[in-house]
């Protein structure tokens, strides 16, 4: 029989990410710490980033310099960025401290790093889109580092139009796609189990990291 790609995809999804794994209503009881909230708080900050950023984009890049309401939305966007990175970095360190890449979760870890790196570029393009002295200074200072790598001619941080386009569409889109994959991977693998405790009877010591 000829291979049916649609059926293959369906079976693959059913097999790797059944609904009860995608949207479980229970968790292993070791999921019992505040550090598990860092990821979801990062998602929440991202949602607010997108909401406030959408408002800013709708009214255009002059608005937040001349309107108090615009300035307030700009402030909310700014503090969402700080919260986003704050919780993302906490999340990153927490995952490191739990060695959360174990059990085939290395792609979750690597994808997380991609999210962090793309977010940094998104943050940079945001700072450059401000149209005030911060963006001016960050542009003329930052250009030397970008130019030294040879990509300055293509990724020209003094080109407002280019930075603004990247910031309000391209990079958020990349982050959303990467995040969808990140969360899918988390649900596919399930929450990583605790490292063996020294006091436990079965302590497979160094083997742990190699799982």
């Amino acid at each position: 029989m000829k291979k049916n790609m649609t059926r293959s995809l369906r079976l693959w999804v059913q097999n790797t990410l059944p609904m009860e794994n995608l949207l479980p209503d229970s968790m292993p009881s070791y999921v019992d710490s505040y550090v598990y909230l860092f990821g979801i708080l990062t998602v929440a900050a991202l949602v607010w980033l997108i909401i406030t950023g959408t408002v800013l984009a709708i009214f255009g890049p002059e608005w937040w310099h001349v309107s108090p309401v615009g300035h307030f939305f700009n402030s909310m966007h700014f503090w969402s960025v700080q919260a986003f990175f704050f919780f993302m970095v906490l999340h990153l360190w927490a995952q490191f401290m739990m060695a959360a890449w174990r059990g085939g979760r290395h792609w979750t870890w690597i994808g997380g790093w991609l999210l962090f790196l793309v977010s940094i570029v998104a943050g940079l393009t945001g700072y450059l889109s401000q149209n005030n002295f911060d963006s001016q200074w960050i542009g003329v200072q930052g250009k030397d580092a970008i130019n030294s790598t040879g990509i300055g001619g293509f990724f020209n941080i003094l080109n407002f139009g280019q930075m603004y386009g990247l910031h309000i569409f391209v990079l958020p889109m990349v982050i959303i796609v990467l995040l969808a994959i990140h969360l899918m991977l988390v649900r596919m693998h399930g929450v990583v189990e605790p490292l063996p405790n020294g006091k436990e009877e079965v302590d497979n010591g160094e083997k742990v990291a190699e799982q």
Partner: protein, 321 residues
């Protein structure tokens, strides 16, 4: 068909959990947090530094800037790629990605920052045409003699009703420069200098301000940034004006600039970027690097995170024994 996907979460004792409720609560908390932070702290919004502002507050600085551009002594004229070939690109052991990429955004400071804008003014103010012609017909040697003379006279020059008056000198020792500089000052004061610069190239000057941003990038911007406590050795990039947090997550990258061997290197940018890149790759690949991936065991923070779980399992363990 592939083997059944292994997700052994179900093998552990379970507790009820509501992910969607958790997400909604997180959204609410985060919204409130952001709202309060925005209301209490607001954000800085210091207007960009303009040529108009420099012309008003420190006209001689703007003129010095223009003279540097005219004589090729400005930082961009000796920058190298991507702007021109007259400087040395940063390199490590002969490896220079900037050199390989070459000149992508050609910039000739004298032309772009000074002469092109003045030529536009000359279309309106025709008396400027002949000084500009004198300049363009002069030899390089003649031009630098004019620049040197007026540069040394600039300290004693005065501004009378906005007009630069240089101390009288032997005839022609400044050439056409006094007229040109006064026109330049007028253009800057009118607020049109940046538009005149950017308007010279590209179809979208208003959205690509590369050239006008390079005008003040050296001394004027740095002086302004200094006043605002934002320069590099004050950890500039990671904070905003007025001591607001900036990109604090770049602390590692900015830290490298402050320490040897980077701090005194002429290729600091390239070295810092590459070092940060290598460290990043090591962290990304941690799961595969023996030693590095065992660090969590050494730090032992996980014992805190899962302490309640360990308490229950150790008890159970004893019970079985």
């Amino acid at each position: 068909m592939a083997r059944k996907w292994r997700n052994n979460n179900a093998d552990f004792p379970q507790k009820p959990y509501d992910l969607i409720r958790e997400m909604l609560v997180a959204l609410g908390i985060m919204g409130a947090l952001v709202l309060v932070l925005a209301a209490v702290f607001s954000t800085p919004d210091v207007p960009a530094l303009t040529a108009q502002q420099v012309a008003r507050q420190d006209p001689k600085l703007l003129l010095q800037n223009a003279l540097d551009d005219l004589s090729g002594q400005d930082a961009i004229s000796t920058y190298g790629p991507p702007y021109n070939n007259s400087g040395t690109a940063q390199s490590i052991a002969g490896f220079s990605p900037a050199q390989i990429a070459g000149v992508q955004i050609p910039i000739n400071s004298a032309k772009v920052n000074v002469l092109d804008p003045l030529n536009k003014v000359a279309k309106i103010d025709t008396s400027l045409q002949s000084p500009l012609q004198t300049w363009s017909k002069a030899t390089v040697k003649q031009r630098s003699a004019w620049v040197n003379h007026i540069e040394s006279a600039l300290n004693h020059a005065t501004l009378q009703h906005g007009v630069l008056v240089v101390p009288a000198a032997s005839p022609d020792s400044y050439g056409p420069l006094p007229t040109m500089l006064n026109a330049y000052l007028g253009l800057a004061r009118s607020g049109l200098l940046e538009s005149a610069i950017d308007g010279g190239s590209g179809p979208m000057p208003a959205t690509n301000r590369t050239e006008s941003l390079l005008l003040l990038q050296d001394v004027p911007d740095a002086q302004y940034a200094n006043q605002l406590d934002m320069s590099g050795n004050q950890w500039g990039i990671i904070k905003e004006t007025g001591n607001y947090p900036g990109a604090v997550w770049l602390w590692f990258y900015t830290l490298l600039y402050q320490i040897p061997p980077f701090v005194n290197s002429s290729s600091a940018d390239l070295e810092v970027v590459l070092t940060t890149g290598i460290v990043t790759i090591l962290l990304v690949l941690t799961p595969f690097i023996p030693g590095l991936r065992s660090l969590p065991k050494v730090f032992g923070i996980y014992k805190l995170i899962w302490r309640r779980w360990y308490r229950t399992t150790t008890k159970k363990g004893r019970g079985h024994a």
